[in-house]
Every structure is written in C-alpha cells, then in structure tokens.
C-alpha cells in the first residue's frame, strides 16, 4: 500500500512534443505529490508538486494532473526541449509520516 507505480520506464519524445509520465498510488493517506527531475551526477531537484485538493497545477511548461478518485497523477511537459532530457521521479508522502515514497523513475530523452 506504500508503493507508487510509475510508467513508462523510458520515453523518447521529439523536440516540441508533449512528454507524459504517469504515476499511481494506493495509500489514500498520501496528501502531497511532488515530481523531481534528476540529471546525471546530480541529486533530485523538485520540479513541481500538488496536493489532492486541486486537480491540476501548472508551472511554465510543466503541468501536474491529479485524479483523486483514480488515485493517479501525471506530469505533462509541453514543448519538450533537449534540455529536459533527464530522469523524472514521482513521489508521495502523507500526514502520518513525512518520508517520500518514490516511483521507479522515467528516463526521458528529447530528440532534437
């Protein structure tokens, strides 16, 4: 019940296209859902996060869509650029404990 399932494992998108990464969770006590971006040799960097009281959050080219009833959330990267090529992790945490539970990661490659 503590798992966060992330798909796809890898994704190749043409420059200018939309990249979509999906995550699903089971624990209804989760109330915070961040996305992290990680470049090789670097630590995860917080990209965008959402709470379950909203269905969508947008920051620049990055949008989180949240479906509370389906227990799913997704990251959309609009107008994907080669500089977006990185590994993306979804995560979740809840009010009963503050540890982040991580998805397995998606390696995104944007082709020029």
């Amino acid at each position: 019940q503590q798992q966060v399932k992330q798909s796809p494992q890898s994704l190749i998108v043409q420059k200018g296209g939309i990249s979509i990464i999906n995550c699903a969770y089971e624990n209804t006590a989760f109330d915070y859902f961040p996305w992290y971006q990680q470049f090789p040799g670097k630590g995860p960097a917080l990209l965008i996060a959402i709470r379950p009281d909203v269905s969508e959050k947008k920051e620049g080219r990055f949008t989180i869509s949240f479906n509370k009833s389906a227990k799913q959330f997704s990251l959309h990267i609009m107008d994907s650029q080669p500089g977006d090529s990185a590994t993306y992790f979804c995560a979740a945490s809840g009010s009963s404990n503050y540890q982040l539970i991580w998805g397995a990661g998606t390696k995104l490659i944007i082709k020029p």
């Binding site: 961040p34 992290y36 995860p44 404990n97 982040l100």
Partner: protein, 115 residues
C-alpha cells in the same frame, strides 16, 4: 539559491569498515533526511531527523546505521560495519518544516562503493 551540500562526492571503503557521510542542510531548515539509491533502483527512505532525534526510520536503517547532528550545521550518516550491499548513492535532504507538504531539497549525493 541555498542548497544542501554533501561530502565526499565519492567514498570507497573496504567491507567491514566504518564510513561517515556528511551533509550541510539549508541553514533555516529544521527537518533532515537520508535516502539511498542503489544503482538502477528506486530512491529509498532511510531516516528522518528533527529536533535532535530520529522521527522516522525505515527497515533498511538497522543497528549498523546512525545519524547525528554534531553541531549547528552538519548532519551525518554513519554506517558502522559496511557490507557490499551498502554500495549506493546516498542523498541528504532538508525541509523547512515537519509537514508532509513541505518541499524536500536534496544534495547531489555521495556515491559509496564498498569493496
């Protein structure tokens, strides 16, 4: 922008030896964490630390592990007797408050290699 700093970036240690990984969290943050990532696997929570004591720990964080905040700036993870399976990237993180929706900021990690 303030950041979490980890040293060393790479640590090579013989099996059975003790190792200390060091972290300097963001200065006004109150909650500190250690995570690890074995090569090719997902990031795993180890321990969280608040007000000079452990708040939560995972099953991975057994008696071989300990954490300490020896002064006002450093936060350390000690592995007493390292095993081959301890080889991983270890990430330190900090957050401003102890609520679940507070962003956790990560350092660039220490790659620990056990020989």
């Amino acid at each position: 922008e303030p950041e979490v700093t980890q040293t060393p970036s790479h640590q090579v240690t013989q099996m059975g030896q003790e190792v200390i990984l060091r972290c300097v969290p963001i200065s006004n943050h109150l909650y500190f964490y250690w995570y690890r990532q074995i090569l090719g696997q997902k990031v795993e929570f180890l321990v969280s630390f608040y007000n000079n004591e452990i708040s939560e720990k995972s099953e991975i964080f057994d008696d071989q592990f300990s954490v300490e905040r020896p002064d006002g700036s450093n936060f350390t993870l000690k592995i007493r007797s390292t095993k081959l399976e301890d080889s991983a990237m270890y990430f330190c993180a900090s957050s401003p408050e102890s609520f679940s929706n507070q962003p956790q900021h990560f350092g660039d990690g220490t790659r620990l290699s056990i020989l």
